[in-house]
Symmetry: C2
Subunit: 397 residues, 2 copies
């Protein structure tokens, strides 16, 4: 935190609270609309079926308004939990009572941090890691360890080293189209790692927020689906990328043993998830051609990705990245730069990206930047890449 706080008044855990540079960058880009931003992680709202939303709203107000406008079950709206089981999960042991609907998958991270992380609990992360997980877990002050990532998943040599030398309690990972790297674990690695998790009796928090964003419409089997110890595995899902972040809904698949505890913590956090949104999303899922909708998102993002790839190859061939199979980002390595200086010069030159440091569990400096392609028009992307290229050449000549 930048502000000096009267620590005598705050709990010790507040000194571990992590703020987000992304938020600061977003503020800058809102203040100064001349800055072209690859920094966000915003889904494209044009992909949302707005006409359908109107008719669904009418139906909800006509037929379900007393449910939609009331408090609800702390575990979530019953119909929606059934739909999640039917449409959005692949583990065989799941039932509606396994599902707790959360206020975005981010809330699932906070609740699982609260349940599993004491001061100095060993928690293994991917490096790079989803920033929101660092923000959710940090106040509980676990001991973070991290495993280096390759484009097809964790480096197995390092993973086995870490597991054999430390008592790892929780492993948090984002195996499909990871934010920020868009790395996706191969099926082979999924199976191997599921076995390792079973052997070492490790709780796995599998973040599947991007599960359905494969450019070809492929859906990877979850790592959890390969585990024998289904009492030690939690899967997080989200409606933010496949429908809209505005409904602020996600879910967690909770093993039976932990369901009462999870619900009690959820209740203490906020009583129950937004009932109005739950009824609307449930009705949307009932009404819409969901598979068709997914395909249209997937092919739109594929198209956007290809254009950004083309622009970088064309205007800045020094930039290195692996081609993602899905998601909303390119994870770009700009060789021979000082990342802080590069970012500041980019901002001065009217273009924003998120520096890789933000996603490092140890805040290590990095020459990587996360570039979002889901939100910008092609013209803006082109102008943005040109501005980055100008800055890069300025620095490197």
């Amino acid at each position: 935190m930048e502000t000096e706080l009267p620590t005598i008044f705050s709990a010790k855990r507040t000194s571990y609270v992590r703020s987000s540079v992304i938020r600061e960058i977003l503020k800058l880009t809102v203040k100064n609309s001349d800055i072209l931003s690859f920094a966000g992680g915003l889904p494209n709202p044009d992909l949302f079926p707005k006409d359908l939303l109107s008719s669904v709203m009418e139906t909800v107000i006509r037929e379900n308004v007393s449910i939609a406008l009331q408090y609800g079950d702390s575990s979530g709206y019953a119909n929606l939990r059934i739909q999640i089981v039917e449409k959005l999960t692949d583990v065989p042991w799941v039932s509606p009572s396994s599902i707790t609907v959360t206020h975005g998958s981010q809330q699932g991270l906070d609740i699982l941090g609260k349940i599993f992380m004491d001061s100095h609990t060993n928690v293994l992360l991917e490096d790079p890691v989803y920033l929101g997980a660092l923000q959710a877990f940090s106040p509980y002050h676990p001991n973070f360890l991290s495993v280096p990532m390759e484009s097809d998943g964790p480096n197995l040599y390092f993973l086995e080293e870490i597991l054999s030398q430390n008592k790892i309690h929780v492993f948090y990972a984002n195996p499909s189209y990871q934010n920020p790297s868009t790395y996706t674990w191969s099926v082979e690695k999924r199976i191997k790692i599921a076995n390792l998790l079973d052997t070492y009796e490790i709780i796995f928090i599998e973040d599947e927020a991007y599960r359905y964003l494969d450019f070809d419409g492929k859906v990877y089997p979850s790592v959890s689906s390969f585990r024998k110890r289904n009492d030690l595995t939690f899967i997080l899902g989200s409606f933010s990328k496949i429908l809209s972040p505005g409904f602020r809904l996600g879910f967690v698949i909770v093993p039976e043993l932990y369901q009462n505890l999870f619900t009690a913590v959820k209740q203490g956090n906020d009583l129950n998830s937004n009932q109005f949104s739950q009824v609307v999303v449930s009705k949307l899922l009932e009404t819409m051609d969901f598979d068709f909708h997914l395909r249209s998102i997937q092919s739109f993002y594929q198209n956007q990705k290809e254009y950004l790839v083309y622009l970088l190859n064309q205007f800045l061939p020094e930039a290195k990245f692996s081609l993602p199979e899905g998601g909303m980002f390119l994870w770009v390595n700009y060789p021979k730069i000082n990342s802080k200086q590069f970012m500041e010069s980019c901002l001065k030159n009217g273009v924003a990206m998120v520096p890789g440091t933000e996603f490092s569990p140890s805040s290590r400096s990095s020459s990587y930047f996360r570039m979002n392609f889901s939100f910008l028009t092609k013209d803006v992307m082109e102008e943005g890449v040109k501005r980055i290229a100008d800055v890069y050449r300025d620095i490197n000549t």
Copy 2:
């Protein structure tokens, strides 16, 4: 928790998680619709202006859909924060940047617990206390102390004793139409206690969820408005009672010093509050005659309260209670009963109330029961009171 948990896998704080008997009672009443329930705390959805909602939804979909369906500012939707300052606060130092919109006022309690409560922090509560606060604070494992309540606020003799003998860090209270007691602090006590809080440098968490439910339309000045130390006072508000719990929105007025920290914790919890609901509620506030709406809620609840009072006087004159000035409950003392036995017999006889034990910071046994009058029709209330009277006479003859 009833379920045996493999504690080796859970954080220490989970042993302090409190589940809610209310939830168990609600489950029973859902399973068995023959049970007439005074147990809930549900606002009456018939008071909601549904026609207006239809037209507001149309406008939102037409005019604000890209904002409503996107991620939002972690502090809340700017327009709504301005409206909160204009319509729903009385402290002079407030500005839109003081407001963070939360996922119900319950989330405000969790965030403030996270920020201020370490293991063994001295936290003063009212006795009886709002159950949700116990649920939110308990996982942070503070040391709870409590002050006995009178119908016009805390007993001042005991309060001064406690403050002079203990270093109290936080005082949480619900000064207007408290849940469960509906006790309301007099203006005189508000001023005196504000001074005491200043003298002892205590952080005050003022829960104003029921602020606008006065039967006569009166609005008490907040305790915080009498404080000189406005850097040590937080006010929680809610849209659940004045509009609808379905939108799951509340807010916290945060002193400047803590705004960055509060926002960072909010971000870790769930990124931002439900953007769709925020846009809809903002548009509703813009469109509706808010004062007229409040008056109609207030007079409906007054009417309901008077009927329940009449029924108890008529059928069960042994029941003792003070007449509330507002809110949704009667806090009823049933003399000469064993509360556990009384509750069980009531449930067997098809009627539910919440036993006072639930609201005791020390889980002390109590002959009080919380009876809700906001939700039931008059016929149902009459049948319910008759059933309670039958059980009472069975036990006491």
